[in-house]
Amino acid sequence: MTEKGASTKGASTPGAGEGGGAAAIRVILPQHLRTLTGVDGEVALELREPVTVRRALDALEARYPVLRGTIREYGTGQRRAFLRFFACETDWTHEAMDAELPAAVAEGREPLLIIGAIAGG
């Protein structure tokens, strides 16, 4: 079993890397984005390995174009300042967008959480 926070890097995933195998992941959106997309509960996404925040967001925005610009800035592609990414009880906010997420996320056992920072009213 993969430890919480452990990366899939080095895991025995045949064909991992560009053009790697398919992964089915789960994403939990903050409430306002669930309302915006009409999603009730989690979002299930399929994407190619390696599973990264960037790839997850690419797949998310492809499924729900209304999310474009709401998580990442147009133009720069940077995370919006008051959003954070968590996986396996670990803060991934400041990791590189192309860093591999934990195997538990890539294997769908744990969700990738997008969370609105507790700020302001």
Binding site: P30, H32, L36, V66, T70, Y74, F82, L83, A119
Partner: protein
């Protein structure tokens, strides 16, 4: 009988207030987009059931919503507002250059002739247009590119393009206003712009009569006389009779000439409304009395309208886009407050009553007259 629809944007959602022509019994629907800041909601004059809303959030950025059934149901449209070319810099609060960064849409102005065309005034100040029902947006970059952009500076609320006036008699002409840059006019459909601020005096500026830098809060016109403009500046109520080429002060006997909102009676081009606010550091009415002031002489001579408005212990503000008029025979006037009240008058301001009392802080009010 015609109906009236009042579109209200607040700090935490949008509301639609509806009534028949008597404007006595109101139906309140909403909140739509609960929890989001709704800077502006406005309906199309071409297709009144097409309504646009600017939905924004410090967390999630900008979304534009469109309704095609008068605000009953909504769907998101395009939200990509990309400045044309290299955005360049404007002045920051301390006078240093600061890069242009998109923050939000303050004002949506539907075309007077095409239901799929709508203009958006944004912060940092720029003008965008969509000609495909909101799916895509393009900047009318001649405004920022006309030369004075590096000298524009944000007001306390940000560097926002908050006013867009379309000339009903000339599709090539429009006016916009920016805090704190001033007022600009195009006569060629938005390709080229000129600042029109001659006569404005802003004593907080190093050069009080400079071509740009004025904190214009709002500008209004009567559609039958689009060359006559009325302005609520940071301080001073102003008037131009020549499409903004020259301005003169018409504050007259107002108790204070600071304020945000200004509007014109639907049928009387010389009848104006303002809500005087005590000062730029005390954003509430003088003496705790909420008074709309009306001039029937195009300015200078003002009367206080108080019937039905709180005349003690009232310390709300009325923001720049939070006043509107309907077009019924007896002109209705509406305004919203930062305390969450929306007041309406069905007799041109003589008598007022709250339509709703306890909304979130009101950012904008628009009125539609539905045949």
């Amino acid at each position: 009988m015609s109906r009236v629809r009042v579109l209200v944007g607040t700090k935490k959602g949008a509301f639609v207030l509806s009534a028949d022509g008597t404007r006595k019994d109101w139906e309140v629907s909403g909140p739509f987009f609960a929890g989001w800041e709704i800077y502006h909601v406005k309906g199309s004059a071409v297709e009144p059931n097409r309504v646009w809303a600017s939905q924004s959030s410090g967390w999630f950025g900008q979304v534009i919503q469109r309704s095609d059934d008068g605000g009953a149901t909504w769907g998101p449209v395009g939200n990509k507002f990309a400045y044309e070319g290299v955005p360049g810099t404007h002045q920051w609060y301390n006078g240093t250059p600061h890069p242009w960064e998109f923050k939000r849409v303050w004002h949506l102005e539907p075309s007077l002739t095409d239901a799929d065309t709508v203009y958006a005034g944004v912060e940092d100040a720029a003008l965008f247009r969509s000609a495909d029902g909101g799916a895509t947006w393009e900047e009318l970059a001649g405004l920022r590119g006309h030369g004075s952009g590096p000298h524009w500076q944000p007001g306390a609320g940000g560097m926002c393009l908050h006013t867009i006036l379309l000339d009903p008699s000339n599709q090539e002409r429009m006016y916009i206003a920016i805090s704190a840059a001033g007022t600009f006019r195009t006569d060629d459909g938005g390709r080229n712009w000129k600042p029109i601020n001659k006569g404005l005096v802003s004593n907080f500026m190093p050069d009080p009569t400079a071509e740009v830098g004025h904190c214009v809060h709002h500008v209004a016109m009567h559609r039958a006389r689009p060359e006559v403009l009325f302005m609520q500046k940071h301080w001073d109520v102003m008037r131009s009779d020549d499409a903004g080429e020259n301005w003169r002060e018409v504050s007259g006997n107002l108790p204070t000439d600071f304020g945000f909102a200004i509007d014109v009676h639907a049928h009387e081009p010389e009848t104006l409304y303002v809500v005087p606010i005590k000062s730029d550091s005390e954003h509430f009415p003088p003496e705790g009395k909420l008074r709309v002031y009306r001039s029937r002489t195009g300015g200078n001579e003002w009367e206080a309208l108080t019937k039905g408005l709180p005349q003690k212990d009232c310390y709300v503000n009325v923001l720049r886009d939070a006043m509107a008029v309907d077009e019924l025979e007896e002109c209705g006037v509406y305004f919203g407050t930062t305390g969450g009240q929306v007041y309406g008058s069905a007799d041109a301001g003589d008598n007022w009553a709250p339509i709703v009392r306890d909304l979130p802080a009101v950012l904008s009010v628009e009125a539609q007259t539905i045949p």
